[in-house]
Assembly symmetry: D2
Homo-oligomer: 135 residues x 4
């Protein structure tokens, strides 16, 4: 499944060169993941974080073209079939169809003490459904 998310480039995202300061892209990616857990998985971050967390274990990004103030960015998030405690995500970001950046990240489900923990069954089912696999 592909989850879609839009974000207009706002004043606060831009640097003195008038383009998005790249650490702000990682905040946008985090917002996209938060919206995915809320809307697509029905497990909002504010609920999830009461009993654990989903820290990012690794992330990489490639910036094809700069984004400017006022650009409307289209994020697509594609989730792979979940691992036992991990989840691989793939991002493509475009503006009016033209490429801006791509990114890949891996999340890990951890308990309140930060130890890796299997995804809950309901989440695994939802993740597997949304990715077109079988639970």
């Amino acid at each position: 499944m592909i989850f879609r998310h839009r974000q207009k480039v706002l004043f606060k995202h831009c640097d003195p060169a008038g383009i998005v300061f790249y650490p702000r892209y990682f905040e946008m990616i985090n917002d996209c993941i938060e919206a995915f857990f809320d809307v697509a998985l029905g497990w909002p971050f504010e609920v999830l974080h009461k009993q654990g967390a989903v820290p990012t274990a690794q992330i990489s990004a490639s910036f094809q073209r700069p984004s400017r103030h006022g650009d409307m960015l289209d994020f697509t998030l594609k989730a792979a079939a979940p691992g036992r405690t991990s989840l691989a995500l793939d991002f493509v970001v475009t503006c009016e169809g033209a490429p801006r950046l791509t990114a890949q990240s891996t999340l890990v489900n951890v308990d309140a003490q930060g130890r890796p923990m299997p995804w809950p069954d309901t989440l695994r089912t939802r993740l597997t459904q949304t990715t077109g696999g079988t639970p």
Copy 2:
């Protein structure tokens, strides 16, 4: 050459789980690069950005262990021999010797219109000197 930079984990860097929110690591990495250009290369960002910029073309990071409020982080930046218009950087971040994250990024030197532009000779010389190569 290895450039060293320290950053204490401050309140503003931390998330509700009490650990560094990973987009803040990318701000810290950017601060480390800014200090490297200023101190090691003698080409401060505030001068450099009057005639161009050094946007990040790609970056990847792997987070080994979480960092907590109050931790003193030691950044080491290692610059590869410069390409014609690009520069590869390698980061290792530790706390009291224990690994926290590693990252790799590639910068590109661009002019005021965002077009790739060869590194100025003085910078190339300094970069080559600091990386132990020959200009």
Copy 3:
């Protein structure tokens, strides 16, 4: 006229105490002003900033109750009749009707060199209309 803006409290806004880190409120207020100029005044920041800027000359805020991750915040922005080059704004932020913070700010319209500059007539008309005054 009252302009309304909603912002859910996201993971990125919260500090280790699990509540909104107050500098993030000022980013939210800036986003609210940016939406007001775009939607209510038809003068988006990305257009406005091509020929000038609207820096904040002063701002004050009073925080009545903390906001937590997941809270839906309702911002109301009330603009006073515009001065020659300035504009006073009044903000009330609530969550499900309960008070969270109030703020007052003054913007100044400046040209590309940062010198105060009268509001353009079309903007003055729109501001005066939206505030119920006479142009």
Copy 4:
């Protein structure tokens, strides 16, 4: 007592107009307060936040002149005699002696449940000493 703190204006602080984006000033002020509690009061935020917090109840700021990338900002923090649970702070920020901004804030000492709590005696003593009063 006056506590002094320096902060160079970095790339990450600046907006498309090339000046400090004002929410970043509030992060700088928070960093200044964090340094004051650590260095002047010997009660670092990472220790303090294990048993409570010191949220900001109100803050106001007046921006006299914009600050640019590369500017070295000198912060002075002046603490008033502490109230039972509150503390008033006064900030003056200059660059090479020229005014940039002034700010006033009020902090409140709260316990882990967010309820106002008297300052601990050792902190009150230190605060009273640093402000030239009598405990």
